[in-house]
Amino acid sequence: MPVKSYIQAITLALREEMERDEKVFVLGEDVGVRGGVFRATEGLYEQFGSERVLDTPLAESAIAGVGIGAAMYGMRPIAEMQFADFIMPAVNQIISEAAKIRYRSNNDWSCPITIRAPYGGGVHGALYHSQSIESVFANQPGLKIVMPSTPYDVKGLLKSAIRDEDPVLFLEHKRAYRLIKGEVPDEDYTLPIGKADVKREGSDITVITYGLCVHFALQAADKLEAEGIDAHILDLRTVYPLDKEAIIEAASKTGKVLLITEDNLEGSIIGEVAAIISEHCLFDLDAPIKRLAGPDVPSMPYAPPLEKEFMVNPDKVEKAMRDLAEF
């Protein structure tokens, strides 16, 4: 199986879907001739032409709005937000239109749009290029939020997102783009949205996380294995709606749960995960549910030492995992 980077898996999924279905098209800032600022759409303009790879004005509300209109009309748009931080002008379109149109029209209309956006920090991007925005959208029934961690998951889930009959917010960790590599099958495959995935089997502690933090947890788990600490790692993959069954199963397995997100702690996705666990797993719990997250400060700092302090990293994860194991 060929080894590909996270971003190559994205490009591959886009290309395959555009080849498979001519209703699929891409729109966004600099996605065309330039191939995207991260080169996620590289080569698509050349292959599919300017009518299926649209360079748009710098107006996120319009990118989302045009995409939503086209989707309702039967197309399969893939709208790119250059950075997830820039999605804010499009929030009204996404929450009030895309997420609600099926319900509002009594099932007459649907909106099969995929909105891709690179999120996350650790790239020296400071305020406007580092945010985690998933929790803004994570209580909007009608919307799905997918945040894959591996190239394999990226390809399978992006394809599922594009083929989904309803709007999907597909959030890609920008630091993972070229950092994370993995095997990606050449053949066409999809992965189910709404299903979490066990990335490592273990019996001492359970780590539940998503995105880049999955890799931090896996690295820490390898180190801790030498100390006799056996970690079970669940990758949420879809952060809204959550895979309750998998969360309950993973939490019950060890009774010691560490939840990790790169987002600010309060009000983050993992707070909801903690609620699910405490509702369903009381008599299996052997320790308080622990959370590791970014501090509650308004933005990712620009200064490197402060950015490092803000970011979750393998050392912090390892420390938290060991602490829980020793409890």
């Binding site: 009774g255 008599f283 719990l285 052997d286 320790a287 020793e326 409890f327």
Partner: protein, 429 residues
């Protein structure tokens, strides 16, 4: 590097617990030996707890507001001094110590059970006291229980030999008879008091609880009896008024009436030591020293500091101690030493205008005297009205220890002393 424990110290006789009112250090702080690390409120005093080591505070094991028993763990402190020479010279001893330390640490979480552990223990009838915990602080983890289950399930508690131990029986019988001797009145069910909207709930803490407990104990255990006499203190008032300005100028504090009363009480106690005593179950302990407890109130707190050996002190000496103790009480600086050793209590109820009251005895003393307000009243002397300064003295007595006759004599004696006060009988210096 060594991890040492700081535990709640015994901050005075009969003090069993302390509430941490304030941590003066945070985790990671460096402290020197004897540096204060926390302010602790006991039922008697506020005190600062000093560090027993120099080092770095590792973990604070108790929160502010938390009440710890004497000897309970307050915090861990990491000392920098390397004990390497000691370790090399006597390895076995240090090893033992470290094992001891570990065992002590181990038990802090021993009986904290997680829901998972409790459930598994219940389902498999496992006696948790028989399970060794491998978690932090000796906590029994879910894995520990799972291991016990996979090793064959139940940990059976060994049956105790049913043949009775004669020593044990004797001990039980003795305890029984002791219990019969001591009378414990049935405690009434506390009535549930409902809070209505707008009511304010004030938690009962430290000092307030102690006051409450002491009052309940005193009033339920001691059969109180009361007595009141009237004393003509016209001479005292004249004497004191003629001296007070000069005294204040010379000494810097007030020449209070209370000092004269304490002086008179001390003299009377010398003559009637029966009142200077305590009920001790099968005996009465008569105290040699005359140490007078005086009640001092501050906001919603009541302190009872002690003036020691009052019978050996001049009026000036007593007045000075009253002044010092009152100031300390107002500033919250009273120490345990200030509160200990009282043998009889004199309460200056007159200071807030009372003319008659029934004091609650300061347990385990035998009596309390309430000095009421001095008021000018018409009194008949030689069949004629006279305006005299009168004061009521109210005595509460433990009727197990004392009877009316002796107390009457005691009160008459005080009356005699007070009514004959002059610069000849009672010099100030």
């Amino acid at each position: 590097m060594a991890l040492n424990k700081i535990t709640m110290p015994q901050l005075g006789e009969s003090v069993t617990e302390g509430t941490i009112s304030n941590w003066l250090v945070a985790e990671g702080d460096h402290v020197n030996k004897y540096d204060p690390i926390a302010e602790v409120l006991t039922d008697k005093v506020n005190a600062e707890v000093p560090s027993s080591f120099s080092g770095i505070i590792k973990t604070l094991s108790a929160k502010e507001g938390e009440t710890l028993e004497v000897g309970a763990l307050m915090c861990y402190i990491e000392t920098e001094q390397s004990d390497t020479p000691e370790q090399t010279s006597s390895t076995s001893i240090t090893e033992n110590q470290s094992i001891d330390n570990m065992e002590e640490e181990d038990n802090s979480m021993k009986t904290r059970y997680s829901p998972a552990v409790l459930k598994l223990a219940q389902e498999n009838t496992i006696d948790l006291t028989q399970v060794n915990g491998t978690g932090r602080g000796g906590r029994i983890t879910r894995k520990d229980i799972e291991k016990v289950i996979s090793n064959g399930g139940t940990t059976k508690v060994e049956q105790v030999d049913p043949t009775p131990d004669t020593n044990l029986i004797n001990a039980i019988e003795e305890e029984k008879t002791n219990k019969e001797l001591a009378y414990h009145p049935p405690a009434p069910e506390p009535q549930i008091v409902q809070t209505e909207t707008g009511d304010k709930e004030i938690p009962v803490t430290g000092l307030r609880r102690t006051i409450a407990n002491n009052m309940v104990r005193s009033t339920t255990e001691i059969p109180h009896a009361w007595m009141m006499i009237e004393v003509d203190v016209t001479n005292l008032v004249k004497y004191r008024n003629s001296e007070k300005t000069r005294f204040k100028e010379n000494e810097g504090y007030n020449l209070s009436y209370f000092a004269f009363f304490l002086n008179a009480v001390a003299k009377a106690l010398k003559k009637f030591p029966q009142l200077n005593s305590s009920w001790a179950g099968n005996k009465i302990i008569q105290r040699k020293d005359i140490n007078l407890s005086i009640a001092v109130a501050r906001d919603d707190e009541l302190f009872v500091p002690v003036i020691k050996n009052v019978d050996e002190k001049s009026i000036k000496g007593i007045a000075k101690e009253i002044d010092v103790l009152a100031k300390k009480a107002r500033n919250g600086n009273l120490t345990t030493q200030d509160m200990q050793g009282g043998t009889f209590t004199v309460n200056n109820t007159g200071s807030f205008g009372s003319v008659q009251s029934m004091g609650v005895i300061n347990y385990p003393q035998a009596a309390i005297l309430q000095v009421e307000s001095i008021v000018k009243r018409p009194v008949i002397i030689n069949d004629m009205f006279a305006a005299r300064d009168m004061v009521n003295l109210c005595l509460s007595l433990d009727h197990r220890v004392l009877d009316g006759v002796i107390c009457g004599q005691f009160m008459s004696h005080i009356k005699g002393i007070l009514e004959n006060i002059s610069s000849d009988t009672t010099p100030i210096y």
